[in-house]
Assembly symmetry: C2
Homo-oligomer: 230 residues x 2
């Protein structure tokens, strides 16, 4: 369902080039749960954004459901991304002027649907309940704790039940119990609905939910650990 | 060195009042290392900001080195805070247009000193080395990974060698090894220089560095675990 071929990503700064991703080739099967672990600064977020079509590689290509997203038109790539993927950002990326319900319902709004319709508002409520934020619906991001903001980002990413979920450290600001609740919920969608999940995490307990763990270092995948969960 | 008496903090929203802190009394001895743990949304960041003088309680008082900071003038409170404390924010709060060196040196700049002088620039380099960001000095925050931004926030908080360090989840975006390196460094300043540390963390391994752990829940301190490290 997802393939990367010889991906590289360079950032150009005055006087130097940062090679954040230096040649990554990997593939993810439908319904698979893959974790990416590695030191801070090793290129995990950059790699995840390349895989999710949110960034263009310096070289190499990414195939989403067989389509090379680099070769699609902007609108086609955007449509594919919005219809097939969800993304939890490491820095949340919530809309400051919207409350929790509006932020979680944003994917529907962007798709031209009405998040206040009966079935969509039920789905939004369900996503909010899954991340245990029932009762905080009217809060805006600056009225939420960091872990609550992180959970809004998770709810927004899963509300469309995407075929492919990308999650960049979704539990870094959460206590053990709340974080486990969210990982359990993500794992269930994987098992019950065949959702594919690519999770970046610093937490070995979170990585333990995966079918396999790719160890990232210095912009490359350096190791692979097959956990054989299923 | 730090005392809280019957602290409360309410947030007012249209139609409801959120009681983030509901009566906290505690005291911290000079040179002590205290950890605060608890569920997401339980009031830890709110409490830490009250203790650090960055927020005013709805009722109750905070005494910093014997001075009730609520009764000081704005300029006196600000000066006390800047000369005696350092604060690592959960959301980093870096200056977007400044690079790493400038961000880390900001406490000196604010105090009217020149961070480019020989001894201060050496201290800045030392703080940057402590968080393992040597080589990234010219990067601006948007050219850094989340964990690197978090480490800049830590370096900035410790560069003045404050008597009292407040740290709100300083390792949430860091891998095990990098995070341990930072906690080791903080623990050393505690032991060698008698620095007082109040650390909010979701990570039990980080809390294990403390002399005692206060368990926060629903805006209150619900439990205390004495680790007897020293
Ligand atoms: N400006 C605000 N208005 C209303 N409620 C708020 C505001 N800021 C925070 N809150 C609420 O206060 C409570 C405590 O927030 P706080 O940030 O202290 O939690 P926390 O323990 O640090 O959580 P986390 O572990 O997720 O960082 C949360 O339930 C949050 O929803
Ligand atoms: N815009 C940029 N310009 C220059 N360098 C950058 C830029 N963005 C990121 N980098 C560098 O690229 C490297 C990889 O960044 P990335 O965010 O992918 O790391 P990461 O593995 O997600 O780290 P963390 O675990 O801290 O989140 C880092 O060393 C960072 O300094
Ligand atoms: Mg990252
Ligand atoms: Mg917090």
């Amino acid at each position: 369902i997802l393939e990367a071929r010889s991906l590289t990503r360079q950032y150009r700064m005055t006087g130097e080039i940062v090679e954040a991703v230096r040649g990554v080739t990997l593939s993810v099967m439908p319904g698979e749960f893959v974790a990416l672990m590695g030191p801070s600064g090793s290129g995990k977020s950059t790699l995840l954004q390349l895989l999710g079509g949110l960034d263009q590689p310096t070289s190499g290509e990414v195939l989403l459901e067989g389509e090379s997203i680099g070769r699609l038109s902007d609108s086609d790539a955007t449509r594919l991304r919005r219809e097939r993927t969800g993304f939890v950002f490491q820095s949340f990326n919530l809309v400051p002027l919207m409350n929790v319900v509006e932020n979680v319902g944003l994917p529907f709004t962007i798709a031209g649907q009405d998040p206040r319709s009966a079935d969509l508002s039920a789905r939004i409520r369900e996503a909010i309940a899954l991340v245990e934020l029932t009762g905080k619906e009217r809060h805006k991001p600056d009225q939420l704790s960091a872990g609550e903001q992180q959970r809004v980002a998770v709810a927004r990413a899963i509300v469309t039940r995407p075929a492919l979920l990308f999650a960049d450290e979704p539990t870094g600001n959460l206590d053990f119990r709340t974080g486990t609740g969210i990982l359990d919920a993500l794992w269930r969608t994987c098992v019950e609905r065949g959702q594919t999940i690519v999770l970046v995490t610093h937490d070995a307990k979170a990585a333990a939910y995966a079918d396999r763990v790719l160890v990232v270092g210095d912009g490359e995948v350096q190791d692979e650990i097959v956990l054989g969960r299923r």
